[in-house]
């Protein structure tokens, strides 16, 4: 069933890790945006509790998604490196 596959060239590897990096940037941007909204609400005294309430749900969801994606990248790519 399983058959050996030649090691990918450097460009493929760079692109694959760049995809993981892109996902980190994406989730980082969303978390930064949510924090920016909390900060704005806090400064303007504009019901910051609403922002904090939403962020308590939203930020962990995005972090779990990031965790799953990084786990897959790490698990699959490092397995190939070990062969």
């Amino acid at each position: 069933m399983d058959r050996p596959h030649p090691l990918p060239d450097r460009t493929v590897k760079i692109l694959q890790w760049a995809m993981a990096g892109g996902f980190i940037l994406f989730v980082g941007a969303i978390v930064t945006w949510i924090i920016h909204l909390i900060r704005t609400a806090w400064w303007l005294r504009d019901v910051p509790s609403a922002s904090i309430g939403i962020s308590l749900v939203a930020i962990p969801v995005f972090l779990v998604l990031l965790g799953v994606v990084l786990y897959v990248f790490w698990g699959l790519l490092t397995d190939r490196s070990e062969r």
Binding site: Q16, V72, D79
Partner: protein, 451 residues
């Protein structure tokens, strides 16, 4: 991993390897629809929202109806696929990919409706820079972003082994597939990693999907507008979303079954099971609709009753009764007995539900705005060719994206079908023995490779 010499599922790779004349015709026709929408959007961008039928008091029309409708359709995929995976329903194997693709495609199109509805798309920057989390609109933006991200991940993860098959078997796009396959070789460790990730995503995606349509309903129910301010709007929207999602999935399955000759994979039994699910959802939808309208009628509040009678006997009655016919009466007649002519009945019911659910979204959005609680003049909404163009383009764009996807990736999960043959049969037998009384329980060795 799939054996490259195994050619039993070659038909699943055929649409990627060869392109027939039908594909070009389909792309051309769908592109015309998209072009109509592009022209309409250019006119709207130039002349402003004044070129549409939107006005005061009806400031939400086709665009918001389409938004709610498409976000609802998105529940076809991820939610249904996740539930079938978690419950280990073996008949899921040829269905899940198609369902997951629907989710991702329609989420893009649904979110795009809001950009069109803004009139000036640059105003979306106001949400990013000055958004206020007191507004349910921003809850929507956040939850849809989370759902889209989760759905993309949930679509991509189970595709990795299939992308590796494409990398190894196909002569074209080798670099592209090599990058996306993440070095998949089907080792035990890779299977373990992937199955864990799919299992986590299947659990995570269900509450996200449910919350998304609940939050979409909050856009309406958090206001004090007549017939919007309802506590059951959340579950009512979720039920409607799953209902329309199953119908869209059935139609997509039937189109690709015919176009790509997938009769061996998408068998009548699949349509029968999905038809039964559709019937259950039709009954649930009727229950929620009945409850919603009965509560409003019994309360008899003056402003609510204006909207109520406007829907029942007034200018919106054709849409309202059309919705009841399409969402309840026709599906009930078609689906209550599925022994004979299963596919024809299920297709009729599904097409009817798609029309009916669009009407339902329209009936929720527009009549309330036509009879506002505040002392604005009442008004009827007439869409112009611009809104018709955008709506036609949205459906065409969805179909076009879907079609193009099938030219790049297999529309049925090859590795899951192979796994079903190799280990699924044995696993089901072992599992069945553990359910039944008075049977010798086998030493259970979970062959959990499907997630």
């Amino acid at each position: 991993m799939a054996d490259p010499a195994d050619t039993r599922d070659a038909i699943l790779l055929a649409p990627i390897e060869r392109t027939g004349r039908g594909f070009y015709w389909a792309v051309a026709i769908l592109s015309l629809g998209v072009l109509w929408g592009a022209v309409a959007y250019a006119v709207q961008l130039d002349g402003g929202l004044g070129v549409t039928g939107l006005h005061q008091p009806v400031s939400w029309g086709f665009y918001v109806t389409n938004f709610v409708f498409f976000i609802g359709i998105s529940h076809a995929g991820t939610l249904i696929s996740a539930i079938l995976r978690l419950s280990r329903a073996e008949w899921r194997r040829p269905i899940t990919r198609m369902a997951e693709v629907i989710t991702v495609m329609v989420l893009f199109i649904g979110a795009g409706q809001i950009l069109v509805d803004l009139g000036r798309p640059d105003r979306v920057m106001n949400v990013i820079r000055h958004g206020r989390y007191q507004s349910p609109l921003l809850w929507d933006a956040t939850s849809i972003s989370a759902y889209l991200t989760a759905s993309l991940v949930y679509l991509w993860l189970p595709m990795i082994p299939d992308i590796a098959i494409l990398r190894d078997r196909l002569g074209k796009r080798k670099f592209f597939y090599t990058v996306l396959a993440l070095g998949w070789q089907g080792t035990e460790r890779q299977h373990k990693v992937l199955n864990r990730a799919i299992a986590v995503m299947a659990v995570l995606v269900i509450p996200i999907a449910v919350s998304v349509h609940t939050v979409v309903s909050f856009v309406f129910s958090m206001t004090l507008q007549p017939m919007w301010h309802s506590t059951i709007f959340g579950p009512y929207f979720v039920v409607g979303a799953i209902f329309s999602g199953i119908a869209a999935l059935i139609v997509a399955m039937l189109i690709f079954r015919k176009a790509y000759g997938l009769q061996g994979y998408l068998r009548p039994i699949h349509f029968r099971y999905l038809g039964q699910l559709l019937l259950v959802m039709a009954l649930l939808w009727f229950y929620f609709t009945f409850t919603e309208y009965l509560t409003g009628y019994y309360g008899g509040e003056v402003e609510e009753m204006k909207v109520f009678w406007g829907k029942f006997w007034g200018p919106f009655s054709l849409f309202f009764w059309g919705m009841v016919l399409a969402n309840f009466v026709i599906p009930l007649f078609c689906l209550v007995r599925l022994e004979r002519r299963t596919i024809g009945k299920v297709l009729t019911a599904s097409l009817s539900v798609i029309v009916g659910m669009w009407l339902e979204r329209f009936i929720i959005v527009v009549p309330t705005l036509s009879y506002p609680r505040l002392p604005f003049p009442e008004g009827i909404y007439w869409p112009t060719w611009v809104e018709w163009g955008e709506t036609a383009a949205s459906f065409a764009l969805f179909a076009l994206f879907y079609l193009l996807f099938t030219k790049v990736f297999p529309i049925i999960s090859i590795w899951e079908i192979q796994e079903g043959r190799e280990v699924g049969l044995k696993e089901v037998e072992e599992r069945l023995l553990t359910y039944l009384p008075d049977t010798v329980e086998p030493e259970f060795t979970p062959v959990d490779r499907g997630g």
